[in-house]
Amino acid sequence: MRELEQLREHLGAAMVGADTPLAAADQLCRACVEMLEVDGASVSVVHEGATRGTFGSSGELSRRIDEFQFTFGEGPCLDAVRHGSPVLVADLDAATEQRWPAFREAVVNEGVSAVFALPVAVTTSYVGALDLFRQSRGQLAEEQISGGLHAARLAALPLMDLMAADVNWDSAARGDDGWEQLASLERVEVYQATGMIVAALDVDPVEAVVRLRANAYARAMTASEIAFAIVERRLSLDGPDWRAGSGGGSGL
């Protein structure tokens, strides 16, 4: 249990200091390789309205492997997002493995024998996946799966920042521990404020939480603080900084 606690702490700190959302995702992927006994990791985005594709990886090979899913339109990551549950493939080359024939052939040729795809959620929508690759066959250990699920939670942070088109990264919470950022987002007032933004701006809940976060950056507030201000009507949703393109950095 102690080890899992340490693993969580390391993962939470993995993105600190990244100077772009992409760098944050890359750092998280590299932390997965270091700590979860896998050979490669990547984060992909699969969400309406966002550019689908690989976003962040532990290295060039992982990126290329991950991109096969988008080239062929099939793969464990896409299935993990579609069903909202992990897809764990301990032996890609097994004769019984009939799913994703094109993807499978391509990645096996690159020397990959096992793929573990863990969905990434923003509020209750699945917007992407964290993919872990191994050159050797075999299931992940219980603790590695737990660690992977933790990393997949954290991967939501750079994905949200990616979706906020013009986030002012200079004032973003990049110095904060990932768990603190998530704790600030997973609160009742944030959900309520998200609903208010859905109604005021006519956007879906994912877009709403992305804008909430971008506006929090711009005002140097936490997500929870800005949510309270919205719920208590101390902050109006009519201002220009809430309109298209996620507002955020301008006008303040």
Partner: protein, 250 residues
């Protein structure tokens, strides 16, 4: 025990039992649990926290919408009697919060400032696992009497059973997934309150009342109504119109 209170207690259990028998909406049932606790026990308010797969507590139901109350409950992610109760799977009673500032340096000052004087946390148990904690908050100093503790734990146990819709689930992954579903339903419920509050210029408790009124009148699950509002397959304006029509005919 007064006959009136005894009848109230019976009604609370009968209502939960009949929900379990007929099929039910988890979030709605948990909401009723906290309301029953606040009404039947010698406490001012009650809140229910469930743990996610990481062991982090999330608020899923509260008898009061007061912002301060929600804050206090959410603080318990890091520090507080509900968190300790969850971790140790045993009740934690704090008869006088003034004496507990050393034990929970963040939680106690916040709870005192919000007007609370005592806290009693009861574990949500299911077989070998602990799912979360039920927090009972009093505005006066003092222990909860034994009858109240037994009754509170009884209500919490019924709700724990209700959380697992697949009764046969022995697999901890399945248990976690069902808990996650309950947590997700709560997220959507709060989002739907926000949608109604924004469009109808309502307070959050008014928005919740509008949604519950609509669900009951149309015999729909509260979660389904909330989901419809957020996904915009159910027009929020329809729910608001229904609520204002009810107000005028009353």
């Amino acid at each position: 025990m007064s006959p009136g209170r005894e009848a109230d207690i019976s009604r609370a259990f009968v209502s939960m039992a009949s929900s379990l028998a007929k099929g039910y909406d988890v979030v709605e049932l948990l909401e009723e649990l906290t309301t029953d606790c606040a009404r039947l026990l010698d406490v001012a308010t009650a809140g229910l926290l469930l743990a996610d797969a990481r062991g982090v507590l999330h608020l899923v139901a509260a008898s009061s919408e007061a912002t301060r109350m929600l804050e206090i409950l959410q603080l318990q992610r890091q520090d507080g009697p509900c968190l300790d109760c969850y971790r140790t799977a045993t009740p934690v009673s704090v008869d006088d919060l003034e004496d507990a500032a050393d034990r929970w340096p963040v939680f106690v000052p916040a709870a005192l400032a919000a007007g609370f004087a005592s806290v009693h946390a009861l574990p949500m148990r299911l077989r070998d696992s602990t799912l979360g904690a039920l927090g009972l908050f009093g505005t006066h100093v003092g222990a909860l009497n034994d009858d109240d503790l037994v009754l509170g734990q009884g209500l919490a146990d019924v709700a724990s059973v209700a959380l697992l819709q697949d009764r046969a689930a022995a697999d901890s992954a399945v248990v976690r997934e069902q808990l996650q579903n309950a947590l997700n339903s709560r997220v959507v419920l709060e989002q739907a309150k926000g949608v109604l509050a924004q469009l109808g210029n309502l307070q959050m408790d008014e928005a919740f009342a509008a949604m519950r009124g609509y669900a009951r009148a149309h015999q729909l699950a509260l979660s389904a109504v909330a989901q419809g509002i957020v996904a915009r397959s159910l027009l929020a304006q329809t729910v608001l119109d229904h609520a204002s029509a009810r107000r005028t005919t009353r």
